[in-house]
Homo-oligomer: 136 residues x 2
Amino acid sequence: MSDRDAVLFANEAFYAAFNGRDFAAMEMLWSRSMPISCIHPGGGPVFDREAVMAGWRSILGHVSSAQIQCHAPHVRMFGEHAVVVCFEEIAGNMLIASNVFMREDRAWRMVHHQAGPTAETPPRVALSDKGPIRFN
Amino acid sequence: MSDRDAVLFANEAFYAAFNGRDFAAMEMLWSRSMPISCIHPGGGPVFDREAVMAGWRSILGHVSSAQIQCHAPHVRMFGEHAVVVCFEEIAGNMLIASNVFMREDRAWRMVHHQAGPTAETPPRVALSDKGPIRFN
């Protein structure tokens, strides 16, 4: 698996952990050795593992919360570091997110997340006779 | 100057370029060798140097635009990479931003920026008889 695919996989695992209300998976996804930070939509900054995890524990404790669909993830690789920009569709609202990952041991771990509202929508996927073409 | 101070300096230079409507300085601030991306408040993702710079050229061309005051910048260092989280006060509105920097040659260059609305306000600075104390 290429680094780019491994980062995309980690990004998907983040949304799977959210949608599955899987706090253990969410905890595993985030770096343990690096200083982490998180900005939820409309919120302020949350710094460091204890506070970031307390936030996720609270959010994931609401089993009735909406699911997030991640659209059009776009990976920027910087060696041991990567930024994924993607759309988040949640309860009919569109958000845009920056997900920052670092390589830790042999895995890509999240070190920063910001999501906020966007007036834009993800690029459409068109069907042609050669199969799906993604415009981005 | 420590790496942390150099990153804070680059972060300040970003807001100085904005407030001075200084496109040349803005262009200099962003990486030339890395894949850059930018998410303006409420907007969609903008990828790669040409598009990101076209966006800044347009924004900085509006000389009457409001000034941004950067509050409470918080630097997270990851070796050759850094994330600065800070509040942006603009025309009475409060935003929160993630500014991602990479070391390029001997300078810290921006590779990603996202700003979006926040309902929170920066930590207050209190005056005591020992001078200012920053609560963050």
